[in-house]
Amino acid sequence: MRGLPSLLMLPLMLAACDGPLSALSPRGPVAAEIAWLWWAMLAGAAVLTVLVLALLAMGFGAPRPARARVWIHGMGLWFSVAVLTAVLAAGLWVGERILPRDDGAVTVHAHAWQWGWTFTHTGPDGAEVRSDNLLHIPAGQPVDVLVTAEDVIHSFWVPQLAGKLDAIPGRTNRTRIVADSPGTYAGLCAEFCGLGHARMRFNVEAHAEWPPLLAADDADTADPDREVRP
């Protein structure tokens, strides 16, 4: 965003952007759409910053006529409205494409508490399988996550798969995540929730087979005393 310097830094940044929690190394279409939106906006912002700073630098020359019609209406009003409309349209378009919709997607449940997560999915035998801090999902297909909270507000976020959604006591929120291929993805609580906030991490395991046949010690790792109310 600092114009030219940031453009020069681009290759360095691209190389440095990888990481298990990086929104810039997407591993599914939802996160990829948003990452694409980011790079487009970054490019636009860099151009605009250079433009404004260049105009500013040119202001230090000899006085020259400046007409309000050009600066106020032309630049301030119409130019900014045009740019903003384009950005807004792109945002709405991406937003519509990544929303959860009624298409029979697999639904899992994420319940947040101070400080950890209890996830629930439907096992091969139709029974509910619960696991603490490990979410099982199918790979290559959309998964809707129902997000709830036990005590205070938390936020469910798997940056490589999708944006975040808050877990709010008394509410059930639905978000859509998609993982392109099987593997493990890192997730965390993004809303400040007290002393254990920094360590409120979890993993998402995307399986090629769904529902997965879990080894006995993988399944139902949840604390049996914890009541989970979808």
């Binding site: 990086s22 980011w38 040119m58 230090f60 006085p63 309000a68 903003l84 792109a90 205070v152 507000i153």
Partner: protein, 857 residues
């Protein structure tokens, strides 16, 4: 008048060739007073306007120059403290497993960093700038309500000290500066930490409300004669927008804080989902304040830029009218986009699209201003003096912050970036770019007027470069940190080695930034102490704030600038003003006099007598402080008793408004005889009351919004059928509303006929209403049962407080009749009572409808 000499901010729309000052002079001619020796005038005025001597004189000061500077000085101290806290945060985050602070302390520190910078630095700083500068720029001698200025300062100081003391004892707020429930409720945040925030910040916000009221009134009613609203300096337009936003924007925060404190103290479940409350109600009320807050901070800074840029470019501003329109648009739009702080709470996409569009739209008036400023620089010849360095720092930083702001307004991107370091970076770009850089420009610009000294060359420029490098080194890379997944408010990240180099870089440059600020502070101190004497108006600035000696005097102007005197280069009018050729010269009657003018055309209306030095504001603030401390201690019964001295001091305050001494008209200029304010309407106090009622209405609207939100949006347990819907309660409420409404008639008759009997009737009606309200309150459901019951009880309490004040005002009127202060010419408290009674009648009718509708629902 050439381009260069015509005032930057004083100039009208540059499209029109006419010179507004001259035009105005033709419309409104005020003959000049004969010149007198300037020194004699100075002595006469100084005797009347100066603070008392010594330390006691500091405690009793009500002068806007003293208090404005004190606001800003105190804010700088808090800025330093907040900055040190941020250094602790950066030290903790420099490595992935920092063992420097434990989590509890870390949470307190980042909460206090945000709270201090928002509530104890930025807001008081802009209030201080407005209080110090506006009377000078508008051509008057003080703010409209000097005692209120002092009350605001003491409330700010005491509230701030309470919060700092809590930090020293390790019981500071720790739930984030946004205090989201349920994390901040009694269950999840036991102890007094959260109470310190709720009570301390609300205490401090008394100063914000006080400043908003008097800034509004001062701008509208105390401009130099002939300075039309449409031609006043742009800074005044910006501050008018700011103060109106404060009047409407702070009540939701105050309402939310009161509700949460009542929930914590008395278990009224406004935000408890189990009993029909909703944590999102807190978020809505908080951000209803919190987003306008951003523009409340930005607008005064933009006002500084609109003043400094044309002055430093020797040309009038480009597009005066467009900038005024942009300010008004920002004021309006900023109340329509608070939801963009809540894009991840699970709101339907259609609603998100609306708020996304509104958030994007708000960039348009900002762009209009940025291009108007750049156009002005094209038009003129910018001089690269020290304030211009900081203005360039503003452009570089704020443009980038604005663009990341547009990105964050785009919903899908927000879902990724929200609550990450990306937002931390964005908000520092906007707040340091949009507020701190302009404030540094302002400081370097106005230092000669404050201390009468020139600066020491070199250090200021060095400080600027260190700050600029330190800032961008810290925060530019933080955008990437956030996109790589680092959330806000974590103290360790043992599993993420990829964030270490980013954080270490930020931490190192963070210390560079701190060194830069220290250099800036040193530069200020050296200028104040070692600088050589400055000439008058060292910048050749056009605005009236420079049409006075440096450093400025306690009374600003020996005589007030008349038509044609304010639209010139400041240096040209210094001498005529100092010799008393302007309006209302000197202080021949030995009292503090200012000119009150009409809202639109600034025609002289009357002369207001302002109160002199008094310790009353200090005592009142201290007694409110006692109440706050008792609430903190959980001694609620004692806290109730502590309200008695508060009420007594407010009564004494009102007594101070009573007419005394010589009430004969004043000859302000040859042939211009003006009544004094006791004989004139509308008075400053009346304008102040209207401003206060706007804020009061916003408070009521916030509470009604809460009730509607809980009834319509919240999906919680349905409340048990509400009591209070019975015929008895409906009748009682109807009688209450009728009694209060009849009270309006009684107050009106008392005011028109100066009738003591009608004042008595008014008091009786208010007392009747109070008695009936006690019965209604007794009949309401247990407020701990359900959130809606609790909110109904709060609404009823709102009415009780208003009727109580109305009763006190009618009693005050009776007392004034008894003292024979109310005469055919002097209305005393009667007009104010009538307006308050009218507001109370409307409010109680609204509340009655809401309570009955809820009971029926």
């Amino acid at each position: 008048m050439t381009d260069a000499t015509q005032g930057a901010a004083s100039g009208g729309p540059d499209e029109s060739p006419a010179r507004p000052g001259v035009q105005e002079a033709e419309e409104l001619a005020i003959p000049r007073n004969p010149p007198r020796p300037a020194l004699a005038l100075h002595r006469e005025l100084h005797r009347v306007w100066a603070n008392d001597r010594g330390l006691w004189g500091q405690l009793t000061a009500v002068n806007h120059t003293t208090l404005g500077l004190r606001f800003m000085g105190t804010a700088l101290v808090f800025f330093a403290i907040g900055g040190l806290l941020s250094m602790l945060i950066r030290a903790q985050l420099a490595t992935h497993d920092g063992a420097f602070l434990d989590t509890e302390l870390y949470n307190q520190i980042f909460t206090m960093h945000g709270s201090i910078m928002m509530f104890l630095f930025a807001i008081p700083m802009l209030e201080g700038l407005g209080i110090w500068l506006l009377p000078k720029m508008l051509g008057t001698r003080d703010m409209a309500f000097p005692r209120l200025t002092a009350l605001g300062y003491w409330c700010y100081l005491f509230g701030g000290l309470i919060m700092l003391t809590a930090l020293l004892f390790g019981v500071a707020p720790r739930d984030g500066w946004f205090m989201y429930t349920p994390l901040s409720d009694a269950t999840h945040s036991p102890g007094i930490n959260a109470d310190v925030w709720l009570l301390g910040v609300t205490f401090v916000e008394i100063s914000a409300m006080a400043a908003a009221v008097e800034i509004t009134v001062t701008i509208l009613r105390q401009r130099a004669p002939g300075m039309k609203l449409t031609e006043m300096p742009l800074f005044a337009w910006y501050m008018l927008g700011t103060s109106v936003m404060m009047l409407v924007g702070f009540p939701p925060l105050i309402a939310a804080s009161v509700l949460l404190e009542v929930e914590r103290a008395f278990d009224w479940p406004f935000f408890d989902v189990v009993r029909g409350g909703d944590p999102l109600l807190w978020q809505h009320l908080f951000w209803l304040f919190g987003h306008p807050e951003v523009y409340i901070i930005f607008l005064p800074a933009a006002g500084v830029l609109s003043t400094l840029i044309p002055a430093l470019c020797r040309t009038p501003i480009l597009g005066y009218n467009a900038i005024v329109a942009a300010v008004l648009a920002l004021v309006f739009l900023s109340f329509g986009l608070w939801v963009h702080h809540m894009f991840t709470v699970g709101i339907p996409h259609m609603a998100l699209a609306f708020f996304s569009a509104a958030s994007v739209l708000v960039a348009v008036p900002t762009a209009v201003q940025v291009f108007a400023w750049i156009g002005t620089m094209w038009k003129g010849q910018p001089e690269l003096k020290l304030p211009m360095y900081h203005i360039l720092g503003f452009f570089l930083t704020f443009v980038m912050g604005g663009l990341t702001g547009v990105m964050l307004a785009i919903v899908p991107f927000n879902w990724q970036a929200h609550d990450t370091a990306f937002v931390t970076a964005h908000l520092h770009y906007v707040l340091i770019g949009g507020f701190v850089f302009p404030m540094m420009a302002a400081a370097t610009w106005w230092m000669p007027l404050i201390f009468g000294k020139r600066r020491i060359k070199g250090l200021g420029e060095a400080a600027f470069w260190v700050i600029l490098i330190g800032f961008h080194g810290t925060f530019f890379i933080m955008h990437l940190t956030g996109l790589m997944g680092m959330p806000r408010r974590i103290d360790v990240y043992p599993d993420n080695p990829e964030w270490v180099w980013l954080n270490l870089t930020s931490s190192i440059f963070g210390f560079v930034l701190t060194i830069g600020f220290a250099m800036f502070a040193l530069d200020m101190i050296l200028q104040a102490t070692l600088g050589k004497r400055s000439a008058r108006d060292p910048w050749g600035a056009p605005t009236l704030d420079w049409a006075m000696p440096v450093p400025s005097t306690s009374y600003n102007f020996a005589s007030l600038p008349g038509p044609g005197m304010w639209a010139r280069v400041a240096a040209d009018v210094v001498l005529p003003l100092a010799r008393g050729e302007g309006v209302l010269p000197g202080a021949p009657r030995g009292r503090r006099e200012v000119l009150v003018t009409s809202v639109g055309g600034a025609r002289p209306q009357h002369v207001a007598l302002l109160p002199g030095n008094t310790a009353l504001p200090l005592w009142l603030a201290a007694s409110i402080g006692v109440f706050v401390l008792l609430m903190l201690a959980g001694a609620y019964a004692l806290a109730g008793i502590a309200l008695i001295p508060v009420a007594v001091l407010v009564w004494v305050w009102g007594r101070g408004l009573a007419p005394a001494g010589d009430l004969s008209p004043v000859e302000a200029a040859p042939g211009l005889r003006l009544p004094i304010h006791h004989h004139a309407r509308p008075s400053l106090s009346q304008s102040g009351l209207f401003a206060l009622l706007v804020a009061d209405g916003a408070l009521l609207a916030s509470l009604v919004f809460g009730l509607a939100f809980l009834s319509v949006v919240t999906v919680g347990p349905v409340p048990a059928p509400a009591g209070g819907g019975g015929a008895d309660t409906v009748t009682l409420l109807a009688v209450v509303v009728a009694a209060v409404a009849l009270g309006v008639g009684a107050a009106g008759r008392a005011a028109r006929r100066r009738s003591v009997a009608w004042a008595g009737v008014g008091l009786a009606l208010n007392l009747l209403a109070l008695a009936l309200l006690a019965v209604v309150l007794g009949g309401l459901d247990d407020p701990t049962r359900h959130a809606r019951d609790a909110l109904r009880a709060v609404l009823a309490a709102y009415v009780v407080v208003h009727v109580l004040v109305a009763a006190a005002m009618s009693a005050f009127a009776l007392d004034q009749f008894r003292r024979a202060e109310i005469t055919a010419e002097v209305a005393g408290v009667l007009p104010a009572w009538r307006h308050w009674q009218g507001f109370t009648a409307v409010a109680s009718a609204l509340v009655a409808v809401a309570v009955i509708a809820q009971a029926g629902a």
